[in-house]
């Protein structure tokens, strides 16, 4: 079997880029939705949507990477049960990388606002305008985000545990080469 110890640079770049974008888009979404209508609000909504679609594209690239590469196996020191837990959490995180932006895109369509990526590329509306559906999708988009938040907290907590309690090597696999070890 082909064994690798680290993620390659493409995977690492995609991971951290997506993480960074989510760390911007999440609080932005939280903040902007309660704002009174203003030019700033309209701008923030657009930026949020652009970031979301970017995450969607990067997530697609990541999945393609996953299907064409073997990710490093978890060290044997980690129990089978924990390994399974890790795979489940990672699997749901991958799903959410798609589900969160897509639910936002659908919500935007249902509310009657086309998404125009970076203000230049109009994306197709996946749904017709429908007020009730728009509201439902808003709830779905928010709920998925709370699940995402929960899993990211779990993801980081696991990382801290592995780093400082188990003293194994799971964090450095996802860090740029120079900073590992």
């Amino acid at each position: 079997m082909n064994t690798v110890e680290r993620y390659n640079n493409t995977a690492i770049a995609l991971h951290w880029l997506i993480a960074l974008l989510i760390f911007v888009a999440f609080p932005l979404g939280w903040y902007m939705s309660d704002l009174q209508l203003s030019p700033t609000k309209l701008q923030l909504f657009s930026y949020h949507k652009w970031i979301g679609i970017t995450v969607l594209v990067l997530a697609l690239m990541r999945v393609i990477w996953r299907f064409t590469h073997t990710p490093p196996a978890l060290p044997d020191s980690i129990s089978k049960l924990q390994q399974m837990g890790s795979h489940v959490v990672h699997g749901i995180l991958y799903l959410l990388l798609f589900a969160v932006p897509i639910s936002g895109w659908l919500m935007s369509s249902a509310k009657g606002f086309k998404t125009v990526l970076f203000g230049v590329l109009p994306l197709p509306d996946l749904l017709d305008k429908d007020k009730a559906l728009g509201h439902l999708l808003e709830v779905v988009h928010q709920s998925l985000n709370y699940i995402l938040l929960l899993l990211v907290v779990l993801h980081v907590a696991a990382l801290i545990k592995h780093r400082f309690i188990d003293h194994d090597d799971v964090l450095t696999r996802m860090l740029p080469e120079g900073k590992s070890k």
Partner: protein, 190 residues
């Protein structure tokens, strides 16, 4: 040949006669619409006015007598978003309390060939009146006529969107107004 030409001429005359006997003057508000398009962060949006009234007098044979008047209840606006609807009746946008009505009053109608016309008129929004010219088409089937046309205004010319909203980077200046007015004919008074 000569007979053919004669009969063609005759039938044309008859058609003309028939048309000139019709005066389109009963606006069917429920079948008509006044809509508008605008862009917000380059996102195209459609809106409409749900309440308006219109009077029209149009006899294709008496162009000089043509008259059109359109009065729009600005509080009936549907901007495409509920939040937008609440905002635009406010002071910075239409200031509907002080200026509840927007109106178009024609000053002249010019035939430009075929079923195409140019309607000149005075457009009043938010207490400001400016001259506009709208290309219009007129299509009649029997006694039912349809005026269709549109024109573009710059919202800042009428101070629609003051204060922070004068920023054109978010809500664009150009507003495309489109109208579709169904007007029925009654026999012209002699």
């Amino acid at each position: 040949m000569n007979f053919m030409r004669c009969s063609l001429l005759l039938s044309l005359l008859l058609i003309c006669n028939q048309v000139s006997a019709l005066e389109f003057n009963q606006v069917q508000t429920s079948e008509s619409s006044v809509t508008f398009g605008y862009k917000q962060m380059n996102v195209p949006l459609e809106g409409k006015f749900n309440k308006f009234s219109s009077t029209m007098v149009f006899d294709p044979a008496k162009m000089a007598n043509a008259q059109a008047r359109l009065e729009i209840d600005v509080t009936s606006i549907d901007t495409g978003s509920a939040e937008g609807d609440d905002a635009v009746v406010g002071k910075l946008w239409f200031n509907a309390k002080a200026f509840p009505t927007a109106s178009f009053v024609s000053t002249g109608l010019k035939a430009v060939g075929g079923n195409r016309f140019e309607a000149a008129g005075k457009l009043t929004i938010k207490g400001k009146t400016l001259n506009v010219i709208a290309p219009v088409t007129f299509q009649a089937t029997g006694t039912r006529g349809i005026f269709e046309g549109g024109f573009t205004i710059n919202r800042l010319d009428y101070a629609i969107g003051e204060g922070e909203w004068t920023d054109l980077g978010t809500v664009a200046n150009e507003i495309q107004i489109k109208f579709h007015i169904v007007v029925n004919a009654s026999p012209a008074k002699k």
